[in-house]
Symmetry: none
Subunit: 197 residues, 4 copies
C-alpha cells in the first residue's frame, strides 16, 4: 500500500497555475506567484516548465484530453445503434457536465487564454476534429445531408458550445443545465442537417 505523500512539484505547479490563471488570467499572473502558491521555491518553477505559457499549454492539453474522453465515453454508453439525436445529446450532456465539474480548467482552456499566448498552440482546431469526424461518419452513413461541410459545421457548433458554456460558467445561476443542453442540441448541425425520411 503506497503511503500518501505530498504531491510532486509539477502537479503542485499545475494546480496552482490553474487556480491563478482562472482567477486572474495568464497575463496577470507571474511565475513567481505560481511557484509561491504551489508552496515551492521560485527557482523550482523553471525546473519543470520553461515559462508560464508552457504550464498553460500543459493545462490546456490535459483539459482537451479529459473533455474528449468524457464525450467519447458518453457516446459509447448510449451505443452506436442508438439514434442520431441520442448520440448528439449524450455528447452535449457530457460537455456540459465536464464544464460544470471543472469550471476553472474549462475557462483556462477555452476562455480568454485560448489564443493569448504565443507559445501555447491553438486549442480550438484540436477540439474541432472530433466533432468534424463524427459528422463526416454520419454523412457517409447517409444520416445527414452530403451538402454539409463537416469541418465548417463542426467549427460553427463548437464556437457556439464554447461561447455558451463560458458564459454559463460565469454565473451558473443564469440558466439550468438542461435548458443549456436543449439549446445546444437544437443548434447542433447534425440535427439541422438530418436527412428526414
Amino acid at each position: 500500500m503506497p503511503r500518501p505523500r505530498l504531491e510532486d512539484a509539477p502537479t503542485r505547479l499545475l494546480a496552482a497555475g490553474l487556480a491563478l490563471f482562472a482567477r486572474q488570467g495568464c497575463e496577470r499572473v507571474n511565475s513567481n506567484a505560481i511557484a509561491r502558491a504551489a508552496g515551492l521555491g521560485i527557482g523550482t518553477f523553471y525546473l519543470h516548465f520553461a515559462n508560464k505559457y508552457a504550464l498553460l499549454r500543459a493545462l490546456q492539453l490535459r483539459t482537451l484530453d479529459g473533455l474528449r474522453a468524457a464525450r467519447q465515453a458518453a457516446v459509447a454508453a448510449v451505443g452506436s445503434e442508438s439514434g442520431l439525436e441520442e448520440q448528439v445529446r449524450a455528447s452535449v450532456e457530457a460537455a456540459v457536465a465536464f464544464a460544470a465539474e471543472h469550471p476553472e480548467a474549462y475557462r483556462v482552456c477555452f476562455g480568454r487564454e485560448r489564443t493569448a499566448p504565443a507559445h501555447a498552440g491553438p486549442v480550438v482546431s484540436e477540439s474541432t476534429r472530433g466533432i468534424a469526424s463524427a459528422l463526416a461518419a454520419w454523412q457517409r452513413a447517409g444520416v445527414i445531408e452530403p451538402a454539409l461541410d463537416p469541418a465548417l459545421a463542426a467549427r460553427a457548433y463548437l464556437a457556439m458550445e464554447t461561447g455558451m458554456l463560458l458564459w454559463w460558467l460565469e454565473d451558473p445561476g443564469r440558466t439550468a443545465a438542461d435548458k443549456l443542453v436543449e439549446t445546444l442540441v437544437r443548434g447542433h448541425p447534425a440535427l439541422a442537417a438530418q436527412v428526414r425520411g
Copy 2:
C-alpha cells in the same frame, strides 16, 4: 515643444491602437508604442485616454456601433414585409461584409481582447441585445416558436457567428464568404425555431 497636426491626436491614436492591438494583442502593446506609432509624443497619449484599456474600449464601442448600424441598414433595405429568412440573411450578410471590410476592428472587438481588460466593459452582452430583441419581436408576431428563449438563443447564435468570423478572418482563403453566410443562416435560431405553416 508642441507641433501642429494634420489629423487630430485622438484619431491618430485610435488608428495606431487598432493596428497594434490587432497585430499583437492588448497585453503585448504599451501606450508609449501606440503614441509613437501615431507619430505623437509619449505624454500625448494620456491627454486623450486614461490608459490603453480606455483606448481599447473606445475602439470596441466604435466597432459595435458600426456593426449594429450595418445590420440595421441591411435589414431595413430588404423591407419589413419580406420573409423571415430574407431578413436573417440580410443581417448575416451585413455582419460578414463588415468583418471582411474591417478585419482589424472586428478582431479587436470580438477576439482575444473581448474580455481581457478590467477597464473595458463586456462586449458580447451589448451585441446580444439586438439579436435577442429581434427574436422576441418575431415571437410576438407568431413567426417563431414561443418556447424559444430569445436571450439564450441570441447568445448562442452570436457565439457561433463571432467564432466563425474570427476564424475566417485569420485566413479568408479558408472558405468563401457565401458558404460562411450559408452556414450561419442555417444555424440561426430564428430559422430553426420557425413556425412552419
Copy 3:
C-alpha cells in the same frame, strides 16, 4: 465707484497656490493644477511666475511681512513705556492670532515647505531678525542680562513658537489659545533672562 471686477491673474494664482500647497505640500502640487484651480489657462501661470517655487516664495514673503507687521502693531499698541512681559505677551498674542486667522499661510510659510524648495530662500533667518533686535535693544536698556546671545536666543524661541503653532494648527482643539500664549511667554528668553531688581 470702482466696479467690482474679477481679481487679476497673479492674485488668483497666489490664492490657488496657497490652498493647494497647504493641503498637499509643494512637492505634491504641480503648476498646471494651480493654474486650473485659479481658473486660468496652463500657460498663464508662467506669465506671472517662473515656477511653483517662485510662487511659494511670494506666498512666504507675504506671510512673513504680515506677521511682522502684526507683531509690531501689537507691541506699539501696548506702548513702549509698558513692561517687558506686557510687550512680550502682546507680540506672542499677535503671532498666535495671526496663525489662527491665516492657518494656510502660516503652514505654507513655516511648515514642511519652509526649507524644501531650492529656489525659495530661508524663511527662519528672516523672521529671527525681529526678535533678535528686540532682545538686543532690551539688553542695551539693561532690562535683560548681557550674557544672553540675542541671535541664538531668538532662534531658539522662534523654533519653539513655530513648532507649537504648527502643531496647534493641525488640530486647534488640542489646546486653548491662551494656554498656548502662556506656554510661549513662559519660554520666552526675554523673561527668562530678565534682570530682577
Copy 4:
C-alpha cells in the same frame, strides 16, 4: 544574475538612503538612485522596502531609538539622586552629542523629512513622550509646579531643541556646543517651572 554581497542588502540600502536623503531630501531622491548608490540592482530595492518612504521610516525609527537610548543612558549615568538641573543637562548634552555624531541621521529624522511623506508616521509625537513623562514624574515628586502641562511643555521644548540642533548642524561653526547646551538648558521647562524652596 545575482551577486554575493559582503554586507547585506538592507544595510547597504539604509546607508545609501541616509546619505542621499540627508543631502537632497526625500522628494529629490529616487529609489533607483538609492539602489545604485548602494551598489545594488534596481529591483533589489523593492525586495527590501516597499518604496522610498518605507526606507525613510526605517531610518527615522532607528534614529529615534538611538536618541532615546542615548538620553536615557546619560540620565542614568548622573544618577537619579542628582539634582533636576544636572539630569536635564545630561539629557540635553546627550542630544547635542548625538546630533553631532549622527548629523545625517538627525537631519533625516527631524528635518524637512519629518512630516513630508504620507507613509512615514509622525516623528515628533513619539519623541515627545519621553520628555513629557519625565516632566510628569518630577511634577509628582513635587519638584516642579503642578500648573505646568507636561505634554504641552514637552512639545514646546522639543520644537526648540530640534530647531536649534538642525540649525546648528547646517553649520556647526556657528556656535560652540556648550553654548548651545546652555541655551537649551535655560529654556527647558523643568527648570523654568522649578519649585524654588
